[in-house]
Symmetry: C2
Subunit: 253 residues, 2 copies
């Protein structure tokens, strides 16, 4: 049984891509066959693995348009057990044309349902609530919402809850969510807002919080996840703890 | 003569909104009648001024759909000389329907050209390259690209240059741009990438760089720009220096 996890937040720069890559790499260390899917036209997840989006022959666009299967578009990342379906430049155009297709929200769910090679599939979403993110939320059983403990980010949590309600009514009744605190610093704002988020959302917030760690800014430069670039770092340990929590959640669900 | 400045970058979380608000507030201190336009469905600029997007009667959506004029949708912010056209929840839907209209890219430019009450208009864009951002780039004489000195952000600069070339060919031949370094820390990654960006882009980069300052994370909570919340802070000084540089650029252009 494959678990599909979407990582989304309309707010930009909250560590969606960093979480998709780090979590994927930590899950693979635990023996989970994992597929990453880069749903973002920016193609940051693709780039962070040293893959040039302009040179990929196949991408998520082919999957959504039905030109190819999951097997046909996925490729190795160089990390055993971790595959990726890369993004490409044409995704911006594809998103505009998805809207005119009937039941466009289900295109990704249908394409991914045909493959059972992976135990976990992680979808990295763009910072917007367009057709690409809606496809990801329709396909997923779990939505992880990375959130900074800051004013704009905390506000976007409310918007994301509205979207989840909407998706549950229209295309995916069993969608569940978890909030992940990211880029946590030691300032007063961060401490106060973390308390507010944890008391407002209760156990819908992962116990693991990811703190600020400049090593996470360095790894995309070398095209490696944190678990390989700095395996003993605080960030690597925290993402491993998150992988552990996710696996427990999946077993209980 | 009104100068229209767009603040855009596909990369999320690079301080687009923070720059729109802080720069607007600093320009007003110098006596420039300034209008802020919140082009982002997230409505962060609207929120940062203490305005609830769900309670605004009129918004950018009305301007784009031609239901009202600039005068009809703009409102005071409580800061003398600084007005805003707020965002609203319906902008996500409006963006989808813009594409079907002929010459949809010019809607904002036409609407703003009818008003000459302001010396500077600042457009805060969402972290995507859809119809809203394209409208902003078509209307603007200058594009400011806030950039963090980090891998993903540096990559998005290249994408933005492609977009500028495209916009110049199709809808706005005289669009110019300037790169603004934001959220600058003291890490090795930040130092190295700042040098690379400055040597790659030369004098297209503002001399003023905006450093990390936690006071900028605190001001949206109280609904005030940095020049009022912490007028002596490093961030307030740096955004005042930026306002100065922008005014010199506008006079030379
Ligand atoms: N815990 C952390 N500590 C320090 N830096 C971090 C951390 N997490 C992410 N970053 C850095 O912050 C920046 C933003 O992260 P990232 O690009 O993953 O966010 P995102 O939500 O995917 O952005 P977008 O909205 O553009 O897709 C990146 O430069 C990344 O390296
Ligand atoms: N110089 C700075 N120092 C510290 N924090 C900053 C600085 N500039 C911005 N911030 C904070 O970083 C976060 C991101 O900034 P902001 O929301 O303005 O970026 P954005 O590019 O508008 O994001 P989006 O892509 O979601 O529209 C905010 O919480 C803001 O308060
Ligand atoms: Mg991302
Ligand atoms: Mg913003």
């Amino acid at each position: 049984m494959t678990t599909i996890v979407a990582i989304a937040n309309e707010k930009g720069g909250v560590a969606k891509t960093t979480t998709a890559l780090s979590l994927g790499a930590a899950l693979v260390e635990n023996g989970q066959e994992t597929l990453l899917v880069d749903m973002d036209p920016q193609a940051n997840l693709t780039l962070a693995l040293g893959i040039q989006p302009s040179q990929t022959r196949r991408s998520v666009a082919d999957l959504l348009l039905g030109n190819s299967s999951t097997l046909g578009v996925s490729r190795e990342t160089g990390i055993p057990g971790l595959d990726i379906i890369p993004a490409s430049g044409e995704m911006l155009l594809v998103e505009r044309f998805l809207y005119v297709r009937q039941h466009y929200e289900h295109l990704l769910r249908r394409a991914l349902s045909k493959s059972n090679m992976y135990s976990i599939i992680i979808l990295d979403c763009p910072p917007s609530l367009g057709a690409l993110t809606i496809n990801a939320l329709t396909a997923a059983q779990l939505l992880i919402i990375p959130t900074q403990c800051e004013f704009f980010s905390a506000h976007s949590l409310r918007e994301m809850l509205d979207l989840i309600r909407n998706i549950r009514q229209r295309t995916n009744p069993s969608l569940r969510y978890r909030v992940l605190i990211t880029m946590l610093g030691r300032t007063r704002v961060h401490r106060t807002l973390q308390e507010q988020i944890r008391s407002a959302f209760g156990n819908a917030v992962f116990e693991t919080a990811i703190e600020n760690d400049t090593k996470l800014r360095e790894c995309p430069v070398v095209g490696k996840p944190i678990t390989q670039y700095a395996p003993e770092s605080r960030a690597a340990m925290q993402y491993r703890a998150l992988a552990q929590e996710l696996e427990e959640y999946v077993h209980q669900a």
